[in-house]
């Protein structure tokens, strides 16, 4: 059994492995967060402004991806799709699942934000001679992004945590590294606590950035119903 009383073990074996896992986790989270967010904007916009058939399809997409466990989605992509001739590496499968799922959640916040902008403002913009595109760009988007930011930001924090599911597809990220280390050393509590701390740092950092961003973009009296 390997204890943490010997600091050299900590520095020599555990931390490098966890750091490597952390790198992999970041590789999962960053592209998934960015593409998921932009996907969410597109889907959210389609659900509000798209033609009827488009709204219907995107609504079904969102209902499915929000209604089914993410683990099931990942298994489907990784294990079932090859049967249909679609092959993904573990990394690709994980990223694909994360993007599709978080785009569905992001679209909820985007949709809510778009719907809560009062109709009168678009009318006012048109009355001032704005084109459709100018209205969207200078009136709708700046407000909608601010309204959607807290929800979307939380979604990214969730993504940091749910990136651990990639380990179930054999992609060895932070949780996977911790599991291997723990199985080898039997120091389950210490190692999982250490991994937990890594995640806490990531989620706390993400929450801190989100709060700063919200504060930076805050408009007095805006975005607080009642």
């Amino acid at each position: 059994m390997l204890g943490f009383t010997d600091p050299s073990v900590l520095w020599d074996r555990v931390l490098p492995a966890l750091n490597q896992g952390l790198g992999m986790t970041v590789l999962l989270v960053v592209p998934s967060a960015i593409l998921g967010f932009f996907g969410g904007i597109v889907v959210g916009a389609l659900r509000v402004y798209g033609p009827a058939w488009c709204q219907r399809i995107t609504n079904i997409y969102v209902a499915v991806f929000r209604g089914v466990p993410l683990l099931l989605q990942l298994y489907f992509i990784y294990f079932a799709l090859p049967k249909w001739g679609i092959y993904f590496s573990a990394y690709q499968a994980a990223i694909t699942g994360f993007i599709l799922c978080s785009a569905a959640y992001h679209s909820e916040y985007v949709r809510g934000a778009l719907l809560s902008i009062r109709q009168g403002q678009t009318k006012a913009a048109q009355a001032l001679g704005f084109t459709q595109w100018q209205t969207v760009r200078s009136i709708i988007v700046p407000q909608a992004l601010r309204l959607a930011l807290p929800g979307c930001g939380n979604e990214v924090i969730y993504l940091v945590k749910y990136s651990s599911l990639a380990y179930t597809l054999t992609f060895i990220e932070l949780t996977g590294q911790a599991k291997e280390l723990a199985a080898r050393t039997f120091s389950y509590i210490e190692i999982y606590l250490a991994a937990g701390l890594y995640y806490l740092v990531l989620t706390t950092l993400a929450a801190w950035i989100l709060r700063r961003l919200e504060r930076k973009l805050a408009i007095p009296g805006f975005g607080h119903p009642h």
């Binding site: 209604g67 089914v68 466990p69 049967k83 599911l165 949780t175 039997f186 999982y192 937990g196």
Partner: protein, 223 residues
């Protein structure tokens, strides 16, 4: 195609038992999260500073660490390292219950804070003590306000419950994975499982909506 459907239908009882385990896990975790989450919320709103700090720390920990890591920490840590006699099912319920308590406490805190200050003042003016006022005036209102958030928490927890399959609990997800692998009917079984998750979500949400309507106060809309 037809063959796949037949395979799935013949496996339905097997999956159905898994669904029952899933439901049991979620119900226990919801209740555990409730029993723990209400005092956490009350402590965070009305408690002394050290208690508030403790609740904040608790919420920060359980909301910041992935459920998978918590499952490994509690199950392997307790069962293997501390050699406690704990089943994967019990560990799953504990982890999901503690996590849900963190989320539920924030739902309840929000609804407690949504209640007008005057309610508490009126209770004090009638000679009620703080625990009495919280129990008789604040919580009955706050818990009603919390039902929509609670419904949401239910559907999140149901999906998170799939994660306990990594400990080998024989719930819906792990049964689905096992039978999909052994029959290689991946598509059919994963779709069937998705359908079952939908049904369980839908049934639970319906039940909670009914509860919400049942305890609704005529004409009342929160401030």
């Amino acid at each position: 195609m037809l063959e796949s459907i037949e395979t799935v239908i013949s496996a339905l009882p097997f999956l159905g038992q898994g669904a029952l385990v899933t439901i049991g896990t979620v119900v226990l975790a919801m209740l555990g999260g409730f029993v723990l989450g209400v005092p956490l919320a009350v402590g965070q709103v009305y408690g002394p500073m050290p208690l508030r700090q403790f609740v904040r720390l608790y919420v920060w920990f359980f909301r910041g660490v992935p459920i998978l890591v918590l499952l490994f920490l509690f199950y392997f840590g307790l069962a293997f390292q501390l050699e406690l006699d704990i089943s994967p099912f019990a560990a799953s319920c504990i982890v999901l219950g503690c996590t849900s308590a963190a989320y539920q406490s924030q739902i309840f805190r929000g609804s407690i804070n949504a209640i007008a200050q005057g309610q508490l003042r009126a209770a004090y003016a009638l000679g009620m003590s703080t625990p009495m006022a919280i129990g008789a005036i604040i919580l009955p209102q706050a818990l009603r306000l919390a039902i929509p958030g609670w419904t949401n928490e239910y559907s999140i927890l149901l999906k998170d419950s799939a994660l306990v399959s990594v400990l080998g609990t024989m719930e819906l997800m792990s049964r689905t994975k096992a039978i999909a692998t052994s029959t290689t009917e991946y598509t059919a079984f994963y779709l069937a499982a998705a359908g079952l998750y939908f049904i369980i979500t839908f049934a639970g949400v319906r039940a909670l909506r009914a509860l919400e309507a049942r305890v609704r106060i005529p004409g009342y809309t929160p401030m």
